[in-house]
Amino acid sequence: MAMSDCDHIHSRPPALAALLVLVLSLIPGTALAQDDDDPAAEDETVDTSSWRCRLCPFETGWSGSITAGGGYVSEDSFEFGDYTGLEEEGAYPILGGELRYRGENAGYLDLSADNLGLESRSARIEGGRQGSYRLYLEYDSLPHYIADDAQTVFYGARTGSSNLTLPSDWVRGDTTADMTTLDGSLRDVDIEQEREAIGLGAGIKQGDNWRYNLDFRRFTQEGNRVQGGNFLLRSALLVVPVDYVTEQMDASVGYVTDRWQMELAYHGSFFTNNDESVSWDNPYASVTDGDDRGRMSTPPDNSFNQLLLSGAWRPEGGWLSTSARVAYGRMEQNEDFLPATINPAISSPASSRDSLEGRVDTLTANARARAVPWKPLSITGEVYYDERDNRTPRDKYVQIMTDQYIADTRTNKPYGFEKTGASLDADYRLLRRLTLSAGASREDYERTFQEVERTRTDEYSLGLRAGPWANLQLRLRQTREEREAAGDYETLEVMPAENPRLRKYHLADRVRDVTSANLSWSPSAWASIGVSADYAEDDYEESDIGLTGATDMTYGLDVSLVPAEGMTAYAFVSQQRIESDIGGRDNVSGAVWSAELNDNIRSVGIGGEVRDILRDGLDLGLDLTYTRSRGETDVDKRGIAPPFPDLKSDLRSIGLFTRYEVSETTDLRLDYRFEQYRTEDFYYDEVEPDTISNVLTLGRESPDYDVHVIGLSARYRF
């Protein structure tokens, strides 16, 4: 699609528009500060002299509850315990509670704690005076259990060291089969992380209009992860340490009135990695002098500072509402470079700089307005601008490939982009229960150092929202999106050569059709049914190498019932099918191949809760869910290749609870949960540490488990 000069996105019109909206927000501010449309004015006419609220049971003083008990997990399973902390067989404590205080002068204090006996524990305390100020302190722990069946030959992996060494009797080999001491050197290592977050903050309301907020959060992430470390085409999967700290600060001041509001905010994020690199012994036989060890970088310390200015303006009468936000940020990174190699046989090349002095300036601006020129019609317009202005200096760097040999000299590519877009949507209420919609949008996307300098995406949509009966709502929407490159697709010049027919899917010409339908029906006061279907089809019409087509179909059925007082029930079915077609050709001019990927995921669930079953104070609840996932990989290459097995996972879950109110202050709760998980993953199954000749793996298998959990707890309320 041809573009004229006036289309050039450097003009930043949306950014200016966003600023204009903000300025407009300020102009009427002084006039509208004395807003005479305050609903309270209407209230003043109401005679409330005899409104005593004698029957109102206002709450003051202390109240709360304590929950305590114990449970038992029937089997060790990292997969089951992931994020919940129930990864080990055996007993576990159940401990939590809440404490509330309400004072006569709107003072309050809330304290809550959950899962105190588990790695997934959390706690929060908040207090203040309602309507005036608040202070809070919170803590949260999130365990992430990744694998409990990994084995490694490297010392240091189990202690979280960034210096991984081989046993003294290690026999290096050209292949993993030649590593004759491998079996005797393997040691179990758990792959796991724990993320802890501590947050504190305060909020103040001053008068009717001013708002101040200050929040600080500190995340620590500790543990390990799997990362490949290679020497040319021979690799070992390493267990490398994770020791991250991220500190975030948010501060804002806002001014709010009925008709307009503004907010100025600051966001700061500061990342620190306590490991600057990972070094490891080369388990393979030497290829070049001095290639006994390798060293790789870890994510460097970095920071992000951002200022955000937001505003909204809503003139009287509701015919127009506008809001906008402009955010200017700066990402910086200047960690000292590691040496180009640690190979003592290769003299490290001179470098023009010791650190990157990396800097990216970001500017995003969004403005949206909704107008109702006359009652049946509403129009929503939007403009936006998103820029990644990468000011990182470019330099030449001699590449010492995998600490083994001197390769070429390369210049870094600090990627940047500018994205400019606008959209217009109209809703026309043709009848009281029928609204027709139409919309159009355009986005120009300009990138640096990539195969396509600029793409343009146009989107058109039609929709309908209807309620043919009061208890039935229907939504239909059809969208077409067309993306085209504004110039030629210029394959980057690299060695070895890239296939000139390749079209990277985020740069390629594409037509996307999206159809969505939703129906919500309440056949009676006690039943509601929701049905939805979404279908998206992508056609990369100019691509034959790379992603050539994709479809994504999702449908779902959701039923909620309240068949009787104190009784609720639900059922759902959802299915998603994702298909992708990929084309390829060996070595640019060799055998042509095509791949078709299908992911099928189906979830079904049914459950409910009954209160006062059999006797007063006895409640019962049940949840049954089943999720079935299948991944099909079909690669057609000369028609003779053996097929891939399916990727499979089946998760069956039963949850059952009963709660009995022993007295007005005490109730007992019995929980039972069973989960069965079955997986097949050909990427990992049957891959022992020495199965692949040039990759020393951790021998992990895809997880299976059958875990029963039972818990008994008592809650005391006061």
Binding site: R295, M296, S323, R388, D425, R432
Partner: protein, 316 residues
């Protein structure tokens, strides 16, 4: 499949237009006259709405809306009718067999529109989080505050991390299968809620994200991937969702698909990147490291970028 859906939609449109036209009475609930207020305020309401009634309401006195000492709370003003509207008609005596007039707002068969009900909430709750409500997608689809919030209870599920997702999934059925997939954020475990990334009260960003961009949203928890670094991977700097499905995936690390095919969507250089891997590369065959375990990432493990001077091919 698309043609079938479009045909079904077209049929649905025609049927709907016909039925809606037949059903439409042209009236709007908001056009009805303002009823009077009750004579004694909440005392009038609570004579019927005690804990034994069909619609018990007393739990509201444990919530911020009925806090003693806060002059902004509804119970410091028009009490129940501050939110529900004038209840004079609803609360008056009715003859035997006569249907009781509905309360104007937030009740069964209420006569005020969703917009008008929402305005009641926004009169007080007009902080920065709701600055962009009016032109938001939720507002456009006539979503009401009471569709998600239970203000009469101290326990409002949509404000509780472990329970919020169920409220959202009632409408966002397409995400239900995603959160149950093999790889997902800790949503099913109740340790992460939708509002960790999304701003349901309105945002100017795509998918109502809280942060200005997709990547800034992800960097909130994954700051180690923010950089900038010396050797960047172009799609990483643009949009995390080019390779990841944030709501859940059938593949590890929320990837849209597995390497090597994921990588081969963008890389087809002569040599190993271009080779189509088949079942012959499984352990039963030649057990290729270009396919199994991490595939491409067995060597190119710095897919999010490298700050190593010799890391241009993302392996250091």
């Amino acid at each position: 499949m698309a043609r079938i859906l479009v045909a079904v939609m077209a049929l649905g449109v025609m049927v709907t237009l016909g039925v809606v036209s037949a059903q439409d009475d042209g009236a709007s609930g908001d056009e009805t006259a303002m009823p009077p207020y009750t004579r004694t305020g909440a005392d009038t309401c609570l004579k019927c709405h005690d804990e034994t009634s069909e619609f018990p309401v007393l739990s509201i006195f444990r919530t911020p809306h009925a806090t003693v000492g806060d002059e902004k709370t509804p119970f410091a003003g028009l009490q129940c009718e501050a939110c529900h509207g004038p209840g004079g008609e609803h609360g008056k005596r009715v003859r035997f067999g006569q249907e009781r007039p509905p309360i104007p707002a937030f009740g069964d068969n209420s006569i005020w529109s969703t917009d008008r009900e929402n305005e009641i909430c926004l009169d007080c709750h007009r902080g920065s989080e709701r600055m962009h409500w009016e032109a938001s997608t939720h507002r456009r689809y006539d979503l009401g505050c009471a569709d998600c919030h239970e203000v009469h209870d101290t326990h409002d599920p949509v404000t509780v991390t472990a329970e919020q997702t169920q409220v959202c999934l009632d409408c966002h059925v397409e995400q239900r299968s995603a959160v149950n997939q093999a790889s997902s954020h800790p949503i099913r475990a109740g340790k992460m809620d939708c509002s960790a990334c999304h701003q349901p009260h309105g945002a100017l960003t795509e998918a109502m994200l809280s942060k200005p961009t997709v990547n800034e949203t992800c960097f909130g928890c994954h700051a180690e991937k923010r950089g900038p670094v010396l050797w960047e991977h172009a799609p990483v700097t643009e949009d995390c969702t080019l390779c990841h499905r944030p709501h859940g995936s059938n593949h590890p690390a929320l990837l849209t698909k597995r390497p090597p095919l994921l990588c081969q969507e963008c890389h087809s250089r002569a040599g190993h990147p271009s080779i189509g891997r088949t079942g012959a590369d499984l352990p039963s065959g030649r057990a290729s490291g270009f396919l199994l375990t991490g595939s491409c990432t067995n060597c190119h493990s710095q897919v999010h970028g490298s700050n190593h001077p010799s890391g241009s091919n993302l392996s250091r």
